[in-house]
Amino acid sequence: MIRLGLKLSARILGQRCADMALAVMLAFSPRCIAQNAASSQTAPAVTSPASYRIAGQVVNASTGEAVRRATVAALGADNGQIVQSTQTDAEGHFALEHLAPGKYPLTASRRGFRTSFYDEHDEYNSAIVTGPDQDTSHLVFRIMPGAVLHGVVTGDGGDPVENASVVLFRREHASVHAQGTEDIRQSDGTMTDDTGAYEFINLQAGEYFVAVIASPWYAMHAPVRRAGVNEDSPLDVAYPVTFFDSTTDEAAATPIELEAGIRQQADISLHAVPALRLQVAAPRKGSAVVQPELRTMVFGAQVSAEGGGVGDPMRTGVVEFSGVAPGRYELVQGDPPRVSELDAGSSGVVDPNGGAPAVTVTGMLRSPAGVAVPGDVNVELNPTGGHNQTSMQVNARKGEFRFDAVPGGTWSISASTQGNALPVVAVSAAGTVMPGNQFAVKDRSISIVATVSSSLARVQGFARTDGKGVAGAMIMLVPRQPSAYRALVRRDQSDSDGSFSLRDVPAGQYTVIAILDGWNLDWNDRETMARYLSHGVAVTVSDQPGGVVRLSESVPVQ
């Protein structure tokens, strides 16, 4: 069962809503509007005489101990609403009674633990199916205590550094993310308080890195250097990006191993160094100036960006970035824009011809029938094939979109409207149609047509071994055409009776496979998954909107 994305986003909005109440009051804006999350108009559970129960024990996944006073809730499978909730007793036991036959996603939560669904993997979990012949009274619901990472950021002389931006990175398994090979991902961020303290709570176990981006509170950078004025001011200083354990070298960053439920301290001291001044080309374009952008890069991700610089570019064609800390940047400059990696070590003029030229990607979103996709559609480009570029997003109107300054490399394009995916099933560039959602950018601007599928079916079936439903298996729908793998692959997790439902499936030919304990596989890599395909079940989805394809044959669990 896949988590109901809509409901979860509504929940997050709701929390923001609560957090924003203060800001809203201060801003005199209209009060927070309740989210109309529920769009599915399911009838309330039928009051049948059936009386099934879901019962079991909640245990600490780390220690195996029973967790008392955890809240366990059975949700409606279609609407995500709470059907019933209860608290565990002193031995961690819970029982939800008098349930109608049906499918219930189960959640458990307790302060200090990471709220999770039953047997959760990535965004999937196993819903509990009640009915005749279903044993739903002996569940072991493992929940993970959240880990805490905290520390103090100090500057020279041990003074606390307030308002330092502390960015948390986590080493991810290759299976988690759909793009790239870079496996250290930004996972959270916070600011230090007046004592220099920061804290991340509710973290899952894993390997983390911490980076601090800050400026000395007393730093002063004259906008344009003048002869004779504070030539070497002791205040013209900056803090380079600093990693735990107080190194400015990303490669020397110390990983922090967090076990479930532990509280670990990671203090970081910053050292101010003379700031750099970089003169960067800002060429004129008509009556405007093409402003460069200097992006601070940490583990391949952009953590902050500074645009513009100062100076008189209309006259000189150059702007100056002052107060630049030595370190690694990505610089976008010129027209057409060029993107270069910059290891800034000294002040001076930056080569205006450095790096690779970025190009413009214009395009159209079309339905399979060739009709332009109306309305506001969010279009996203993600780097694939290992290059460290950042993702880009624009809004398409009347099906037309434009990305400026796209660096060379292979990109995947995806589209969504109001949180619903509009899968890209083919991309055509220069007259060539390629199935899937990837395309290559070289050294010149291109125009593409992305075909999105709006007729999405569900593929439903059962994962079984020896005729018995298997819960918790990873279910994959793999397109027959290898080049469409990334765009069209779908996943789910089998529910307690072995049932699954793969959503948003465009018309085409597929193979469905079921793998027990397959959650650590690099499912993004078709080669890795190829060996499972021979034991899959073939399915053809025809072009009929909103249909459900039920597999008559059960999918063998591998």
Binding site: K7, L8, A10, R11, G14, C17, D19, L22, M25, R31, I33, A34, N36, A37, A38, S39, Q41, P44, R69, T71, A73, L75, N79, Q81, I82, V83, S85, T86, Q87, T107, S109, R110, R111, G112, T115, V148, D159, D194, T195, E199, W217, Y218, M220, H221, A222, G228, V229, N230, P234, L235, R263, S367, V373, P374, G375, D376, Q418, G419, L422, S454
Partner: protein, 561 residues
């Protein structure tokens, strides 16, 4: 340009002691600065002669000497306070002072013995807004994994602290399905005001000054939270579109009608609202508006999950309803909230013509409209929340916005035309400067009448010669309030007089009558609508009577620094 070296000292305003490692910086065409040494002394070379803007800063301190800003309540990083300094050669040492900021921190404990991690704590400050003291939300924080919270960078003043209601544990779902009411067991920690009050009236005032670190610990007691469900009943005129999507805003009020920080949710599938509440007396108030239509494909289909547009829905179709109820030991699910259209009111605007020929202050240009704003009154944590109430011209009646809910509000009138000024603003004959405006259940009010007059007066205020000199060094400035001795809903903005801007200015568009003028040597937020606060000041004010259509002059008496 000739340049000189400027030196001086920075002191701690609370103790008078010198402050080391404070930054003194000069903004303008030369950005330069220096840190103070161990004796609090600084020296900046290469400073151009003439007027320069100085900033003084240090973490944990605030410069409260700025005329441009009201004393801020919470400072993040540097403040924008500036000192005007006339730099001359042979200038004597400058002396600046910074006030240490205060902090309120505390430990939250839970009756269940759980770690009080992630509990939302809110900070209120007693502030003056448009001449009235109110409790204003300043900032919020969450407790860390130790259950500790901290509000730092606070200016001297009086504060109150409260916790947001917190569920014992969060379920990743908002709404309870029909039929599940009695089987849904939730517990939580009700909102409390430090030290253990249910509302602001019982809260302890925490007064901090001179760099104090105050401690405010809280003990939260777990209670059952019961499901409350209320069905929304649309007016008959709306029944045809009963399934039209609504943007629904739910607020939970206490028995006195004050907004609480409990949240409510709207369930579109059942047209009902839900909340989880501990035992007590409450009201649920709902305002609803039709959602704007979503996009449609050219082939007539719609993206998944987007409701169909309703051509009959007017965007200004605003509904309101409320139900009062107690919660006592069990779920409350039989409630109904009838929604009715919110009513707008009409403000009768009239002008008393004096026969003085009108003098358009900006000939040819369309004058800006008269604006009536209202701010929440009545002693809740939402006090001071300002909304626009009406806008219009001096000709004919003015329609008010129909989106304002019931409650009591202070009225603030802004009249941009300097040829018009307020004579009176009444609700059912009572002055709105004395009594708040009371809006009833559907937003209706007793008749409102705004009377203007066209014989407005001007007042030229000047510094005495002794204070109107521009010496080398830091410039002195004065903050003035010109306060009528009669009722007015027009807010008073303090004016700043300084020698470098001529030492005088003219306030126009004033209603003729008697005024008090108060002059201060430092920025002050005056509670000018509080008779008690003003009584304490009375001997400091100067009286001036403004004649209809006339211009008067006043040389102010300046206090010593």
């Amino acid at each position: 340009m000739p340049r000189v070296t400027v030196q001086g000292v920075v002191k701690n305003a609370a103790t008078g002691e010198p402050l080391p490692r404070a930054l003194v910086r000069i903004e303008g065409d030369a950005v330069t600065g220096a840190l103070t040494d161990g004796e609090g002394r600084f020296e900046i070379s290469g400073v151009p002669l003439g007027p320069q803007a100085f900033q003084v800063m240090k973490p944990g301190f605030i410069d409260t000497a700025s005329p441009f800003m009201a004393p801020p309540t919470v400072i993040n990083g540097s403040s924008n306070s500036e000192h005007n300094v006339y730099v001359a050669s042979g200038m004597t040492d400058l002396s600046f002072s910074l006030a240490p900021t205060n902090a309120i921190s505390g430990q939250v404990e839970l009756s269940t013995g759980d770690h009080a991690q992630g509990i939302a704590v809110m900070l209120l400050r007693r502030s003056v807004q448009d001449g009235r003291a109110i409790w204003q939300p300043v900032t919020n924080a969450r407790t860390n994994s130790d259950g500790a919270y901290r509000f730092a960078g606070l200016t001297d003043g009086t504060y109150a602290v409260f916790t947001e209601p917190a569920m014992d544990s969060e379920i990743p779902a908002f709404l309870v399905e029909g039929g599940g009411e009695q089987a849904t067991i939730r517990a939580g920690y009700p909102s409390i005001f430090y030290p253990d009050a249910a509302d602001l009236s019982g809260a302890s005032r925490i007064t901090v000054a001179a760099g104090q670190q105050a401690q405010a610990n809280l003990l939260l007691t777990e209670e059952p939270f019961h499901l409350v469900r209320a069905a929304l009943v649309l007016p008959h005129s709306r029944n045809d579109s009963a399934d039209a999507p609504l943007n629904v805003n739910v607020s939970v009020l206490d028995g006195q009608g004050h907004q609480l920080s409990y949240g409510g949710q709207y369930d579109q599938s059942t047209h009902s609202v839900q909340a989880f509440l501990p035992d007590g007396a409450y009201a649920l108030r709902v305002t609803a508006m039709a959602t704007p239509p979503g996009p449609v494909f050219t082939d007539g289909s719609r993206p998944v999950g987007i409701a169909a547009p309703r051509p009959n829905d007017r965007p200004d179709d605003s509904l309101i309803g409320q139900v009062d109820f107690p919660v006592a030991g069990q779920a409350v699910t039989h409630l109904r909230i009838p929604l009715t259209g919110q009513r707008s009111n009409s403000i009768q605007v009239s002008v008393i013509r004096s026969g003085i020929p009108p003098q358009p202050d900006n000939p040819g240009a369309q004058p800006a409209p008269i604006a009536v704003m209202i701010s929440q009154a009545g002693g809740s944590i939402n006090d001071g929340m300002v909304t626009s109430f009406a806008e219009g011209y001096s000709t004919g009646p003015m329609e008010t916005n129909a989106t304002t809910g019931p409650g009591s509000y202070w009225v603030h009138t802004t009249i941009p035309q300097k040829t018009l000024c307020e004579a009176s603003f009444t609700a059912g004959g009572a002055s709105l400067a004395r009594e708040p405006l009371v809006l009833g259940a559907s937003g209706s009010s007793v008749p409102l009448a705004l009377t203007l007059r066209d014989d407005c007066a001007s007042l030229k205020i000047s510094l005495p010669e002794s204070a109107d000199v521009q010496d080398a060094g830091e410039e002195r400035y004065y903050t003035l309030y010109v306060i009528p001795d009669f009722d007015s809903t027009t807010d008073i903005t303090p004016v700043v007089l300084r020698p470098s801007s001529g030492g005088s200015l003219t306030v126009d568009g004033l209603t003729p009558g008697s005024y008090h003028v108060y002059t201060f040597a430092s920025p002050v937020q005056l509670e000018y609508r509080n008779p008690e606060a003003m009584a304490a000041l009375s001997q400091h004010g100067q009286t001036v009577v403004l004649d209809p259509g006339g211009t008067s002059s006043l040389v102010v008496e300046v206090p010593g620094h």
